[in-house]
């Protein structure tokens, strides 16, 4: 008996030795990477959070935001823009959904080193993030929220009232974007009959709402108003419902994951009219999804096209030089400006501050006075926290690429 036990324990020791040596060799090949990284100077750290969809359908836009903020922060650190302080970017994923967005905001708000946040991409997510960041006086600058209610309250059409003094944005709103598209279709493209479709989300609904109002005011006709379910990808039923009303164009409120297939299926079903949307469909992925028949589809986007502006050339060059894995996408310029707006405010507020928490209020106050020439034009905020620049651009798909049609300053009539 003793012999067997002895023999078995030898086997066990042998087996575990083999397993251990395998594990060690496997690990050994990877452990060389940790040798770098010198010691940092003893400076104080302030963190700038990013809340954006870093995964999921909209990650292309979200990662562009993250990298653009990283670029701005890196340049500020390199040039020692804020003496005695080092900035750090803390990216948080909101998956484009409200619940993860709220969690991300809570995590950032509980970090005493966070001074500002760039984000979010979606208006619906921002509605959840604002109330979390505001009580802690953390300044929030969105590069992409276009819902008018975020800065001017729920009754923005009749009695605008700013709900959160900590919230700012560098892009224009749907209050401008929808009417801008309506004016383009009616005045420039001479289209009088339009069908609208939206995805029932805050962004899409708002866009179609402001578009419809302006289009009717101009004298146009909305021949059909439909909705789709954003979780679906077969839109035959909706298209068949729209088709008999013979629209000359379809205005879509929503984002490219649905808009691309919608455009493709529209044309395959014989509804050969352009689809027009807002900045949510202004993305190269839209053309990939919409396929060859996407030509002549239209989109509006906030600001002037980034690669034509002189101010933006340096940004594009710097971004390319950093070799980020993902492109800066539709909101890169706005994110870069948003981060720089925060940095500009921090130059004031952190000058004599001892810690981040005490400087937060001063940062919010300093934000209101920020004014500089950014990538997308003049960066400054009005009394609601909206950008003072109201430049928009119409883009058209031509030969598998987005091409600029016209850039205009929107004037209220």
């Amino acid at each position: 008996m003793g012999g067997t036990v002895h023999q078995r324990s030898v086997v066990r020791v042998g087996a575990s030795l083999i397993v251990a040596s395998l594990a060690l060799t496997a690990c050994g090949s990877r452990s060389d990477n940790d040798s770098g990284g010198g010691s940092e100077e003893a400076t104080k750290t302030a963190k700038i959070g990013v809340i954006a969809p870093l995964s999921g359908d909209l990650s292309a836009l979200g990662l562009g935001i993250q990298h653009s903020v990283e670029l701005a922060v890196k340049q500020a650190n390199d040039s020692k823009a804020i003496p005695g302080w080092k900035l750090e970017v803390v990216p948080k994923d909101d998956e484009g959904k409200t619940e993860p967005g709220k969690n991300a905001a809570t995590a950032l708000a509980s970090d005493k080193d966070v001074i500002g946040v760039v984000g979010t991409l979606n208006t619906s997510v921002a509605q959840q993030v604002q109330p979390v960041l505001a009580p802690k006086n953390i300044v929030q600058v969105s590069p992409a929220n276009t819902g008018p209610g975020l800065t001017q309250g729920a009754k923005w059409q009749t009695e605008p009232k700013r709900p959160y003094p900590t919230y700012f944005r560098t892009c224009t709103t749907d209050a401008v974007q929808g009417p801008f598209a309506a004016r383009y279709l009616y005045e420039t493209a001479k289209i009088t009959k339009v069908a609208t479709i939206h995805d029932k989300k805050a962004y899409g609904q708002g866009l179609v709402g402001t578009f419809t109002e302006e289009f009717k005011k101009l004298g146009g006709q909305i021949v059909s108003a439909q909705t789709i379910n954003p979780d679906e990808s077969n839109y035959q039923a909706v298209i068949s419902a729209v088709k008999p009303s013979n629209p000359q164009a379809v205005y879509y409120g929503g984002e490219y994951p649905n808009a691309g297939p919608l455009s493709q299926q529209m044309k395959a079903a014989g509804l050969n009219v352009p689809l027009m949307g807002g900045d949510g469909i202004f993305d190269p992925k839209y053309i990939t999804l919409a396929g060859k028949t996407a030509d002549n589809d239209l989109a509006t986007s906030v600001g002037a096209p980034i690669d034509t502006l002189d101010t933006a050339k340096k940004f594009v060059a710097d971004y390319t030089a950093e070799k980020y894995k993902e492109p800066y996408a539709a909101y890169g310029g706005y994110s870069y400006d948003a981060a720089n707006a925060i940095i500009a405010a921090l130059k004031e507020s952190l000058k004599s501050a001892t810690d981040v928490e005490s400087a937060r209020k001063a940062t919010v106050d300093a934000m209101a006075k920020v004014s500089f020439d950014g990538v997308t034009g003049k960066v400054a905020f009005d009394q609601y926290g909206d950008t003072t620049s109201k430049v928009l651009t119409v883009y058209k798909v031509a030969g598998g690429k987005w091409a600029t049609v016209e850039t205009k300053d929107f004037e209220t009539k």
């Binding site: 067997t4 359908d57 990808s233 077969n234 035959q236 039923a237 068949s240 079903a269 014989g270 396929g291």
Partner: protein, 438 residues
Amino acid sequence: MDQFFQQLVNGLTLGSLYALIAVGYTVVYGIVQLINFAHGEVFMIGAFGALTTYLLFFDGKTSVWILPIMIVGAMIASVGTAVLMERVAYRPLRNAPRLAPLITAIGISVFLQEFIRLFYEEPAWTVVVFAGLAIAVGYVAGGRVAKVDLNHPVSRWYDRAPLLGGAGGAVGLWIVVRLLNRGLNPLLIAGVIVLGALVGTAIGWLAGLAARRNARVEVPIPAIAAAAVGGALVAEVGWVLFKKLITSVEWPSAKLRIPFPQLDVVTGKALQVGGVTIQRSALFTVGALLICAVLLWFFINRTRIGRGMQAVSQDPDTARLMGINVDRIIVVAFALGAVLAAIAGVSQGLQNTNIDFRMGFLAGLKAFTAAVLGGIGNIYGAVAGGLVLGVVEAMATQYIPGQFGGSTWKDVWAFVILILVLVFRPQGLLGARVVDRA
């Protein structure tokens, strides 16, 4: 009137898709009385199988003869998934209370979704699959050489230890070598295979020694060696496949919707019949359903296995006594459902022009509804139920006026119909008499 026919065409197209998936639910239910809630994911994997085939071999081409090959790829992926699923998740629970397989099914469904999402994102992880496959092949090869039945009720789990140890050891060594040096020259590769076989055999022998006191089945050294050689060889083949094929393709991110390839004849300009637009992909879907229905009828009524399926669905125990291999019949049922789901996956890709890893969930739910609507367990009922459901959805979008109309509410109406049918005709449209079940 045009509008009515247009929606009828849309409804029949959508219904054909539901019907193709619904058959899978109904066949499996008819035989094992199990609702395979992961069937929607089999459908999704079919679509991804087709896309993978396209990306691997035909990227950028649009000729129509690619389509059959894509369908074959879709079928391989779907059938593989379904059969593996049956073996791993359902067979061990065959005699468990009914709730257990239901819960496993939901678990499997979530697992498959995440699996596809992660693996399409990170194709490098297919190496892990190849490693698992290599161990499995080694194990089977060793079992063949040893001529022992390791599934025999008398054998225990540790009887398998020598074989698993042999194959696992060989594959393990292989992985270690590859981690240290990715590009070995051919001579060294042969050396590593031999060394892997030796080390694997040694590990298997040690494992056998450890288990020997309690073992019921003696596994001889040649069998362990066969397991080790098999494992190492398959690992190498897998690695070559990975290097040559999988890394040669730029994989789209599965997090996003992925555009599905558009082929010449099946997609393209829609046909106009009077005022009705018929898409070519719709013709493909309806045609596929027709062909499948005819073949299915032939298979069930005119072949040995088909009749075996009917027998098992009527009374599994008696069928077993009559010499029917019930396990095999069940596997065939799963495979049959998977074949149709694969075709449905391809048609969905062609119709919607894009696929994503979540597409199986809603489609599966709708198809399940169709199966229940037609009378679950009845194949023709599944086809009828699918068509009815599709037409109801399309018509509801068009003809229900006001606030409850439009595509927003179409799912609601589909399920309202389901509830009404279940309340007033619980056995479904084509009432499933036991004799009809197959």
